[in-house]
């Protein structure tokens, strides 16, 4: 009887898990494993050839690719730092304000999260028009007499990347906000009350009590920010094109990978597959390393507190 039941269970388990397992393996696992392997092969268009070990990697870190890789990597790093400072610190301050009010404040939570449900393509397209030389922002600044002439927000080498980072922050600030708010709400109210009774100011209470206690939320948000910063693609593509205009000043590793793999003309012009796969492998290792380091260091901090 037992054995019959066990066999029945085994059979139903296999039948129930199989469809999800097959689709997930085919769409997610197989392509990633094949990409890692493919980065060690010689490629001619979409056809792979013989095993060439690390030659693709050697070529990736040599002219003409090296300057593009370094540039794109630098922009990803700046993107990460920018989002950490602007979006995450801003999100935390707003979350703290909402937390100290105690009231439901559901309206503000919903309003601030609203842009996060819109696609980065839509948000990027919207801001591309707003920031256009004759666009609404310059028009308003001109009417106020603030700017003497139209500012080329997206056409200036020094302004373009910060603008894109700000647009990304506008899109996603609701996410850290809600995570931090949940973190603050998990703090036992007595702790904050006693701090207040002892005369700690709101800012002091945030820094010395709130911050350490929301370390788990900070860890989650930092790791997510890292992953998202190094996965940037949509906003750059829609606002500055796949080449990361002007003059590659907004190029990121995602757009560089896309260009190497698919050319700038979309799926038809396939080029440099070997180099693209080498870049994908480097990026995978970078993301894995960053995530592990993030979990380790921030995870330890969590235990300490």
């Amino acid at each position: 009887m037992r054995a019959v039941l066990a066999r029945r269970r085994l059979r139903s388990a296999i039948i129930l898990v199989a469809p999800a397992f097959v689709v997930y393996t085919v769409v997610v696992i197989y392509p990633l494993v094949a990409s890692l392997w493919g980065s060690l092969l010689d490629w001619n268009g979409l056809t792979s050839g013989r095993f060439i070990a690390l030659d693709n990697f050697a070529n990736l870190f040599r002219d003409p690719y090296l300057p593009r890789v370094v540039g794109a990597f630098t922009h990803n790093v700046l993107w990460f730092v920018g989002i950490m400072v602007i979006q995450n610190v801003g999100g935390m301050l707003i979350a703290y304000l909402l937390y100290t009010r105690r009231g439901r404040m559901g309206f503000f939570q919903s309003a601030f999260f609203l842009p996060a449900i819109l696609s980065p393509i839509l948000v990027g397209a919207l801001w591309r028009i707003i920031l256009a030389p004759e666009g609404p922002l310059n028009s308003v600044l001109g009417n106020l007499g603030v700017a003497s002439g139209p500012i080329a927000w997206l056409g200036d080498n020094n302004l373009a990347l910060p603008c894109l980072v700000l647009v990304d922050a506008w899109n996603w600030v609701g996410l850290p906000l809600l995570v931090f708010l949940a973190g603050f709400n998990d703090i036992p109210p007595e702790i904050m009350e006693s701090a207040k009774l002892e005369g700690a100011s709101a800012s002091k209470a945030l820094l010395s009590i709130g911050l350490p206690l929301v370390m788990p939320s900070i860890a989650i948000v930092s790791i997510l920010t890292f992953i998202n910063a190094f996965n940037q693609f949509d906003i750059v593509y829609i606002m500055e094109g796949p080449e990361g205009n002007p003059g590659h000043s907004t190029d990121v590793l995602g757009t560089l990978f896309y260009q190497l793999a698919f050319g700038t003309q979309g799926a038809s012009g396939l080029t440099e597959i070997g180099i693209a796969l080498a870049l994908a492998t480097v990026l995978m290792l970078l993301l894995a390393a960053g995530t592990v380091v993030g979990l380790r260091t921030l995870g330890q901090r969590i235990v300490e507190f």
């Binding site: 388990a13 129930l16 689709v23 493919g38 601030f112 393509i121 839509l122």
Partner: protein
């Protein structure tokens, strides 16, 4: 007195940031019923007359009706398949106490951390070989595969909290595994299904990267890809562009109006992205 000023400061920050969120969206809405000339001259003023020409043009000339229908088909089909496959897989992995099933669960959860887009070249070659390029079915297959880890994560965590008594009682009454899943677990995990459905719908509806690479026919494009095409074609017709942006934001904003509490709770309880 100090307290009152502090309160004022808090309200100023909250209302100020509400403005930062609202003004661009307001601009999108009012501009969609203005002519390009009006947008140039007085961007922030309310429209002098309500003309829906931009919407009609975006919908018909700019093929937004096609993109919209494609996005609806892809989103609905993907969400349904994600739910069915993930509920089925989560049931044995969270309820049967067997080692290989826990290992399998870890294998699924690994997908939460993987940079799926970086496998795109090999996925492209595979889909070329199985004839799934430039097809909505190919796109649906991709979304189902990509979203399964998140769905399994949410649903199996939820299933694990359900007490054993109910299922044991049903088994003693002679119910098959399928009946236990269908009549006991599916109704009980409904809140988890809602969260998975909402988050998957948003992710699929908004995705740009996969259609960019897998779809080339204009009549098969989904909204975000259609929007990108549209940005290139109607570069100077801002009224039309804003109408297109408004059309593509409406379905999600409506969804959000009804589900913003679940969305916020989902995020707060770790249902990120």
């Amino acid at each position: 007195m100090v307290q009152r000023f502090r309160n004022l400061g808090v309200w100023a920050v909250l209302l100020g940031y509400t403005g930062v969120v609202a003004v661009p969206l307001y601009l999108m809405l009012v501009s969609s019923v203005k002519t390009t000339r009006q947008i140039y001259s007085e961007p922030l003023s309310p429209p002098s007359s309500l003309s829906l020409d931009n919407f009609a043009n975006a919908w018909q000339q700019a093929h937004f009706s096609t993109y919209f229908v494609n996005s609806v088909i892809v989103t609905v089909a993907s969400v349904v398949l994600i739910l069915v496959l993930s509920v089925a897989a989560s049931f044995p992995m969270s309820r049967y106490r067997q080692r290989w099933l826990s290992v399998l669960l870890m294998f699924f959860l690994l997908g939460l951390m993987l940079p799926v887009r970086l496998g795109i070249v090999q996925l492209f070659i595979l889909f070329r070989d199985i004839d799934q390029l430039d097809k909505l079915t190919g796109l649906i297959l991709i979304y189902v595969g990509i979203r399964i880890p998140f769905a399994v994560f949410v649903i199996s965590s939820f299933m694990r909290t359900i007490p054993r008594e109910m299922e044991e009682a049903a088994r003693i009454d002679g119910a098959s595994e399928w009946q236990v899943l269908r009549h006991i677990f599916v109704p009980l995990v409904r809140p988890a299904l809602a969260i998975v459905a909402i988050f998957s719908a948003i992710a699929v509806w908004n995705d740009f990267f996969f259609p960019l690479i897998f779809i080339y026919s204009d009549e098969l494009k989904t909204m975000p890809l259609g929007l990108a095409t549209f940005m290139g074609q109607y570069r100077s017709d801002w009224g039309l562009l804003f109408a297109g942006l408004t059309i593509s934001s409406v379905p999600l904003v409506v969804l959000y109006l009804f589900t913003s509490r679940q969305v916020r709770q989902g995020i707060a309880t770790g249902g990120l992205r």
